[in-house]
């Protein structure tokens, strides 16, 4: 991007409703902030289907390690390299990839300001910056504490290997404690897949060890399937305590390796995994996109911000209930947001909104389960299509001869999902 072009755009920004002059900047500029599940998917989809859009992707990291399959690294069934990707192939397809920290969004001037002071102008901004952890929401749990009590919930902040090393080093017969937050948070089934994958590791390497999961809510995603599988695969190893059984962790004491619950019980752990409450990443909150809840309200037909014009907020940062905060959901938002932005820039109607999600979870070796949802925008709200979606059948609903095969196939298809979505995002196929 040349300096003269930046200056030109800065001047034009004062008259946002006037048509831009044809010529050098004829291609409408879409800037995508964040190169994770939402952002990389948006860039790929835009490059495949909207050749007349100019696409810039701003991402601070050169390599992206996915959250999905991090729990399999914990189990020792995948290596961190297997779940880490670069942006070279997206760039080769004509996405301008800018590896820089976005410092602020200048919504009035329609530009993203980078940490080095330079500006990236946009006609439409697609923000998929993900989440931040609410340090201090659990008393004593700050970034320093997270070295001793890892979260393993944002790979760029803390690779899952930190928790994996603690798990490997745990004494025989030790206790692995987890603190799990209330809704909404990134990946509703994620903590329970984690419990399962830690159990899978312990069963093989530390069979007398126990897992104690302290949860700030009373129910969770795919709960009957997880609990059936825990009883089947890891009998006696896992204790899960919901909010009404004093499961909510309110304080941690790093020096004594204890967590304290709402009603004052102190629980000691040999390894403690704290998944703290979360909110939209700072860049989105600071741009005035978030409500008091810390998450960003959107218009469901386009994922445009309900607060700031010309900006779409997708992925975990957005409020998209009843859709979960998942990678698949983020990629679904991304495609609609790109199509909507392209339509709006050319004066065409926004296409009808149909969104999709599937979250697979690995529960054990050759044992997978899933939840599916199809969603439509109706009357300013997102609605799950009646009769569609739902969770995998429980054991009782499957013919006995088919049970093991169904779980084995879903574990295999989970791997297929992971391969497909990451190859799409990073333009590997």
């Amino acid at each position: 991007m040349t300096l003269s072009r930046r200056t030109l755009v800065g001047a034009a920004a004062a008259l946002p409703l006037l048509p831009r002059t044809a010529g050098a900047q004829a291609r409408p500029r879409i800037v995508i902030l964040g190169g994770g599940f939402g952002g990389a998917s948006a860039a790929r989809f835009a490059r495949d289907h909207f050749p007349d859009l100019d696409i810039t992707l701003i991402e601070r990291s050169r390599r992206f390690t996915t959250c999905p399959y991090g729990n399999l690294v914990l189990a020792g069934r995948k290596r961190i390299d297997d779940i880490t990707f670069g942006y070279e192939r997206l760039a080769a397809r004509g996405v301008r990839v800018v590896h820089a920290e976005a410092a602020a969004v200048d919504a009035e001037g329609r530009a993203v300001r980078l940490a080095d002071g330079s500006r990236i102008p946009y006609d439409r901004l697609i923000m998929s910056p993900g989440i931040d952890l609410r340090w201090g929401a659990i008393e004593g749990y700050d970034q320093a504490a997270s070295a001793r009590m890892p979260h393993g919930w944002i790979p760029s902040l803390q690779p899952i290997t930190v928790l994996a090393e603690q798990l490997r080093a745990m004494r025989q017969g030790g206790v692995f404690v987890m603190a799990i937050p209330d809704n909404p948070f990134r990946c509703p089934p994620g903590p329970y897949e984690r419990i399962s994958m830690v159990a899978d590791y312990l069963k093989r390497h530390n069979p007398r060890a126990k897992i104690l999961a302290l949860d700030a809510k009373n129910g969770f995603s795919k709960q009957p399937l997880f609990q059936d599988a825990w009883a089947e695969l890891y009998p006696g190893m896992i204790e899960w305590r919901g909010a009404s059984s004093d499961g909510r962790v309110t304080r941690v004491d790093v020096a004594n390796m204890t967590v304290e619950t709402e009603f004052g019980e102190k629980v000691r752990g040999d390894v403690i995994n704290v998944i703290p409450p979360q909110y939209a990443a700072a860049i989105a909150r600071n741009a005035g996109l978030a409500a008091d809840s810390g998450w960003c309200p959107i218009k469901p037909e386009s994922f445009e911000s309900a607060r700031v014009p010309n900006i779409h907020v997708i992925g975990d940062a957005s409020i998209a209930v009843p859709m979960p905060k998942s990678g698949f959901a983020a990629s679904s938002h991304a495609k609609q947001a790109i199509a909507a932005a392209a339509a709006q820039l050319s004066g065409r109607p926004v296409p009808e909104a149909v969104y999709f999600n599937t979250c697979y979870s690995h529960v054990g070796e050759d044992y997978g389960i899933s939840i599916v949802g199809v969603f439509r925008a109706q009357g300013g709200r997102l609605i799950e299509v009646e009769g569609s979606g739902g969770i995998s059948p429980r054991n009782a609903a499957l013919p006995e001869g088919r049970r093991a095969e169904h779980r084995r196939l879903e574990a295999l298809y989970a791997d297929g999902w992971y391969e497909s979505i990451t190859r799409e995002m990073f333009a590997l196929s």
């Binding site: 926004v350 999709f356 599937t358």
Partner: protein, 96 residues
């Protein structure tokens, strides 16, 4: 696709919001790509769906999934989220 900007965009921006158009097949197929791959070639046991069936066979397969008449781990739950018109659009996109 050609994006017209300038006077047309200005006019459109000032006009009343237009009604939504049906979701085009590329966008509908965006959901399927998440598992079947960006080209529909399949992955790790998930079957290929691009150019593997005629349009009629494709629609029939989706309708069977929806009615629980075709063995599935996940496709029944998915197919029940879409309309016949959308099956037809997807069949035109993926079918032979």
């Amino acid at each position: 696709m050609v994006l017209r900007i300038g006077a047309i965009a200005l006019m459109a921006a000032l006009a009343a919001p237009a009604a939504a158009q049906p979701q085009p097949a590329t966008l509908l197929a965006g959901a399927c790509q998440g598992c079947h791959g960006v080209t529909g070639a399949g992955a790790q046991g998930i079957p290929a769906i691009a150019q593997t069936m005629t349009r009629a066979e494709f629609v029939a397969a989706m309708q069977e999934f929806r009615a629980n008449r075709r063995e599935a781990t996940v496709m029944g739950r998915i197919a029940r989220g879409y309309t016949d018109a959308e099956f037809a659009a997807l069949a035109a996109h993926y079918g032979r």
